[in-house]
């Protein structure tokens, strides 16, 4: 299967800084329909990487392909951006219009979609993110989680194959965070949209198909979340935390117990501990 996003030897320098590359020789393939989480601390290069996926930033060295389209080809930019949609951190700074439904209509309008078709897509997109009843509201009066869902609707109205979300939950409270993560999970599972979620919240990675950990502009781990989090020492040496469940199991093992570190959810964790103590 053709990967939806493919990077080859991708290197990137920010023009204003000299020396260290923000991205250092990254080779990556993302399979269509998968739910991928990219984790890393501030300055690890995770957001820079995300911005390469739809030609917001262009490689200083190497290549990025979206369904085989080279992102450095200017003629393909619109085609690439409608394939890979993007949601940003600050919900206030990505909403264009004064009315929710007008904002969702923005992308299809730009793509020259006929009016009746836009109407249909807008209604459908708002339904998918559970914001239909707010169609005529003013965006600035919504909660953070609701604003991000509007932003997601604005992207799915383009009917993209992939959505990249660049720390969409960093400014939200726990319930807003849950709203957003549940929404993108559903989009991935039910609509088959590829989701690339950039975050620094460990918890959001637990249900991912694949977890990529970045540090210093490089990929330092790539695989199933349970596998990666069980490498507790390796992650800690990079200054990264692990979910509390893994932390607990690991500390218990340090005390001579023998528990599987792959038990990520609260339920799994409780089950393995109970099984061991019985």
């Amino acid at each position: 299967m053709t990967p939806i996003i493919k990077t080859q030897n991708l290197t990137f320098f920010y023009p204003e800084t000299d020396g260290e590359p923000a991205l250092n020789q990254i080779d990556l393939e993302i399979a269509p329909g998968s739910f991928v989480v990219i984790l890393g601390h501030n300055g690890s290069g995770k957001s820079t990487l995300a911005k390469q996926f739809n030609a917001v930033l262009l490689p200083s060295g190497g290549k990025v392909y979206v369904f085989g389209m080279d992102t450095s080809n200017e003629d393909l930019v619109i085609q690439i951006r409608r394939t890979v949609g993007m949601v940003f951190q600050n919900p206030d700074n990505q909403i264009v219009a004064n009315v929710v439904e007008d904002d969702v209509a923005f992308a299809p309008e730009n793509l020259g979609v006929p009016p009746e078709e836009i109407r249909r897509r807008v209604d459908e997109a708002l339904k998918q993110v559970g914001m239909s009843e707010f169609a005529l509201h003013a965006p600035h009066l919504l909660s953070g989680g609701q604003k991000q869902r509007v932003a997601i609707a604005g992207v799915i109205a383009m009917q993209p194959d992939c959505i990249v979300l660049d720390e969409p939950t960093a400014m939200l409270d726990p319930s807003g965070r849950r709203e957003v993560v549940e929404t993108v999970k559903t989009l991935c599972r039910e609509k088959g949209i590829t989701v690339v979620l950039i975050t620094h919240h460990m918890d959001e990675a637990i249900d991912a198909d694949r977890l990529i950990v970045m540090s210093g502009g490089k990929i330092i781990a790539d695989g199933k979340p349970a596998k990666i989090f069980s490498q507790v020492e390796a992650l800690k040496s990079q200054g990264l935390a692990v979910p509390e469940t893994t932390q607990l199991l690991w500390e218990l093992n340090q005390q001579g117990m023998n528990l599987p570190l792959e038990a990520l959810s609260v339920e799994e964790c409780a089950q393995v501990i109970a099984a061991c103590l019985r």
Binding site: H41, N42, G43, Q89, S143, G144, A170, M171, D173, P174, S175, G176, H200, M202, G239, L240, A241, P243, E244, T245, Q247, L248, E251, L252, Q255, M257, V266, E267, C269, A270, Q271, I273, A274, L277
Partner: protein, 288 residues
């Protein structure tokens, strides 16, 4: 002893007399003793932000009053202004409020408004910068060209430089990664220990607040719903969840283990406590 802050029947209504009228907080009574480390939690819109802005007189009560060391802070304009220096408030995303040309001058803004002497201001700026780990090499740099984490530290130092007796922080770790969160929180803990000041930490992170605070207050729909030490609060998991709040993961695991028939106290709320509880269970199991 007189509590450092006492709140009596505090009510605040926004846009009174218009169709947009909204009761933000209602009939709040609270006493905060000197030196306490207090955690304030609640869903967005629960009234906690409105509440803290009353403690330093930024908002005027619709009814009720706020006492600082036994005196009404609204008794005169001067008193309200003075209390702003005693009750330091760090807003959410404080780095967005930096404005001076240099880091030094930004931190000095508060002390300057207090009309302190140059020498005194200098001492306080250095002390405050020390608390948050801003090195002196940065003093002459523009705050706008520093990283997000450093900017936030500088903004917090700007409030610490007033040497407040009460330090209120509104989600000081919002948007930071785990290591950034950890370092800001340890700055706050250090200030609490070194100065003996009262600290009020407003946060969404149950894990943080459980670990640090001596007392937790939960706001819900503009009222104080729970007021208890952390060891008692999280066993009320259902109640917290119904208010749209999370419980610490450790508590969630402990509660699930109890359902699975293990005698673990529901009042654990840190990984450390839970680990010890499980280990002692294992010891007992071995004995028999």
């Amino acid at each position: 002893m007189t509590p450092i802050i006492k709140v009596e029947g505090l009510t605040h209504v926004y846009s009174e007399g218009t169709p947009f009228k909204k009761v933000a907080i209602e009939q709040i009574d609270l006493e905060i003793p000197e030196g306490q480390f207090l955690g304030l939690i609640g869903h967005t819109g629960s009234g906690k932000s409105t509440f803290i802005q009353h403690l330093n007189g930024l908002l005027k009560p619709t009814s009720g009053r706020v006492l600082y060391k036994g005196e009404d802070i609204a008794r005169s304009k001067e008193a309200t202004r003075d209390v702003r220096f005693k009750v330091g408030l760090v807003f959410q995303y404080p780095e967005h409020q930096l404005f001076e040309e240099t880091v030094y001058r930004d931190i000095a803004f508060g002390p300057k408004n207090m009309k302190l002497s140059e020498a005194e201001i200098d001492e306080r700026v250095r002390e405050a910068a020390g608390f948050v780990g801003v090195p002196e090499e940065l003093f002459q740099r523009s705050p706008l060209e520093l990283s997000g984490g450093q900017k936030r530290r500088i903004a917090i130092a700007g409030v610490l430089a007033m040497r407040p007796d009460v330090l209120i922080l509104d989600e000081p770790t919002a948007g930071l990664d785990p290591s950034g969160r950890e370092s800001i929180l340890s700055n706050v803990v250090n200030y609490h220990k070194a100065s003996g000041a009262t600290v009020i930490l407003v946060t969404h992170s149950m894990e943080d607040v459980a670990r640090l605070a001596q007392r937790l207050i939960v706001f819900h729909n503009g009222r104080v719903a729970i007021d208890a030490p952390p060891s008692q609060i999280f066993s009320r998991a259902e109640e917290l969840r119904s208010m749209g709040l999370e419980i610490p993961k450790s508590t969630a695991i402990a509660l699930r283990l109890r359902e699975l028939g293990l005698p673990i106290s529901p009042s654990v709320y840190t990984v450390e406590q839970l680990k010890n509880a499980i280990l002692s269970l294992r010891e007992e199991a071995k004995k028999c």
